[in-house]
Amino acid sequence: MCFKHLPVDFDEQGNAFLKEGVNDPYSYKSVSLDEEQDKLKELLAKNGYIKDVDYDPVTRVAGALAFHSVVDLKDRKVLSSNSIATLFRGYEIILKGRDPKDAAYISSRACGVCGGVHSTCAALAMEMALGIKPPPLGIVMRNILLAIEYLYDHPLHLFLLAGPDYSEQLVGETNPEILEKAKSTSAPHKDVHGYSTIGDIMKDLNPLTGKLYLEALEMTRVAREAYVIIGGKYPHPQSVVAGGLSVTIDITALNEIYNRLVQFFDYGQKVAGIWDDVFDFFLDHDPNYENCGKRPATMVDTGVWDHPDHYDATYENCNEWGKARWATPGVLVDGELVTTNLRDLNLGLEEFVEHSYYESWHENGQRFDTDKMGGPLSPNHPWNKETKPKPGKQSWRDRYSWDTSPTWDRMPMEAGAYSRLYNTALANEMPSRRYIEPTGHSLKINIPERNLPAAELEWHIPDTWNTFERNRARAYCIPYSAMVAMDNWHLAQELLRQGETSVSTEFEIPKKGTQTGVGFWGAGRGFLTHHLVIDDGAIGNYQIITPSTLNAAPRTPWGDPGPYEEAVLNTPVMEQFSSDEDYQGIDILRTIRSFDPCMPCTTHIMAESSDHVVTREVTTCACGVE
């Protein structure tokens, strides 16, 4: 049984049911945040200070996330943190009433980096709602397309956005003693990446001028070139449709893709070696770095990359085709894998808006009491949820975000590319093992020879989940994604040899009746679901949960902090500074950035005992939270 908080049990056949004798099974009691805020106010007052800070977005061009922390610089700890999504995006409202086929194109615009994953997720939701199974070549080419999207996304994050946090330039400003030590510390993976010392790596992580920064820019180009061969254009592919793809795939297209894909063989080895060396160096230098961004490995992932022999688009078989994916779906609670069933994952999902600028949608009753198989659904489940924006005053005691608070089994859940690595390694269920081999405690990735010799990389499940491990795992996701794409490339070639050229299945949308579907797919940043309800041929309800909906969540109704908030609360101040004015907040920034937040994000860090407000941008992909 995977649920501990929801009153849901399973019979011997694995069918979910509501436990008997529980009145109002999905009710809950909201906890007031007044006491916590009063304590904080008192603490601030004792230090002679009551701050009044403007929390409006201060990003330069487009702001969607602000982050507020109160930091005790004397004791070097964070006292309070709030994650604030400052913009309402409203794709759910835009999509309502439209032709379901529009969803793949419109929802793609939710993100300026990972549009393809939204298109695909929308297509999958329709495939489930209408019973459309794409042909095998359509499935494997879709896998390749989205693996390539990650090959654009991960280098971008690791070197253009997060990389500068570990560069000579920044480390020299915030921790000169570390930089000094780095210059004389040997880099263990020199044979792979060519750098003799950690200091040499840090120098090439410098923004704009560092060789690693510029190389990553170039690799994003290689990935984009491969991407448009299938998607037509980037970041919003034109060819992703329900039922497969609308593009002709031939051996020339596969060769063009191959020529780009193989460039990630060496690059994947190099990136894993670089980040292993940099992060091991930090953790060796001061074990307290292990506490930066620390939180339990409580994560959720939908899995990604469908196997053509298993994927049939049905909800009824989603547990089976989910487990056949190249990334295994699942829910981790404090490092323990509690389920790999997509259906369990779906049944446990809820969204709450007690601390968000939305109205409740419950006044009209609950539309779906159960899923298609009779499993119980919460009134807060995405198929029942409606998006009703209600702008209002920002208050840490009440509502402070346009993000909702999604939970699984009433727990805030973290999401990331690393979650798919973690789940797949731990579950050890993934059937396609040409290049990828989970072991139950690690994930082995076999990289063929190119300029570098062939190698077996092995990512190990870490003892502690923190800022550094998030990025380390993301680095391993580059070779992981490349080899999944390569495995699917072989399948595509085999299909073409057999004369299989069809990439899409025709379908019609019924003009009457109600159909429901859910797309389970992974964004570059992890977990992604699109819940779809079709009423009489048009979209009746559409709900998107992105990775940042999960990670940037405000408090739950019962007061649990969202993942960003919790990770920042646990972060010690490791930075060296001579006065409050010198404090840059690098440890908090590294922590927020380690989630690869789906928004141009601005952080405000208020230093206790001073009126110094640190404002730094944590820009990454411009993906909407609602």
Partner: protein, 189 residues
């Protein structure tokens, strides 16, 4: 007359999000600009597909452009809706921290003319002549259509685009500026 014509390859690029009324003047006018009669050496394209991608494309062009004309909307102080400003990009760059912030925005899908200019300048893709024509859009509003104030000046905009694209040393590019208006002051932080 031919003596006064610019003879090089020209790119006319429109920049700006769609469906933001006057703020979308570039994308609204793009098909109309394309429909004008242009010499073969003039290309009309939208330039919203990312400063990094544009940089990488420019870096690989066999025949680089000799002039780029950008058409966009920018809110500037002390202008009326529909006012048009033309000027030549001087190529001054902000601090490296500011440029890195521009790259951060650019790779994450933000559409912005100043990001494009700064990133292009940093990576040295721009030809000697880059002209910008910007229209005062007024406050940002949603919708696919331009307001009457901007609709009225479309002929003037089209004439200005022609001059900026085809004239040698176009005299209408007179505006003086330090940085683009929506770029925050470069305080070196």
């Amino acid at each position: 007359m031919v003596l006064n014509k610019f003879q090089g390859n020209v790119l006319i690029g429109t920049i700006g999000y769609q469906n933001l009324r006057n703020h979308s003047v570039g994308s609204v006018l793009q098909p109309r600009i394309e429909a004008l009669e242009w010499p073969d050496r003039v290309t009309v394209d939208e330039m919203n597909w990312g400063p990094i991608a544009i940089t990488q494309k420019f870096q690989t062009m066999d025949e680089p452009y000799d002039r780029v004309v950008m058409v966009c909307a920018l809110e500037r102080p002390q202008r009326e809706i529909g006012d048009i400003t033309c000027y030549r990009w001087q190529g001054k760059l902000p601090s490296e921290k500011q440029i890195q912030a521009c790259v951060g925005d650019a790779v994450t899908g933000v559409t912005s003319v100043e990001n494009l200019l700064i990133i292009g300048e940093y990576f040295k893709i721009w030809p000697d002549e880059v002209f910008i024509l910007d229209v005062e859009p007024g406050p940002e509003k949603s919708g696919p259509h331009l307001t009457p104030e901007v609709e009225t000046v479309i002929p003037e905009i089209m004439d200005a685009i022609k001059i900026l694209s085809l004239e040698k040393d176009p005299e209408i590019a007179t505006f003086n500026y330090e940085f683009m208006d929506v770029l925050i002051p470069d305080d070196g932080k």
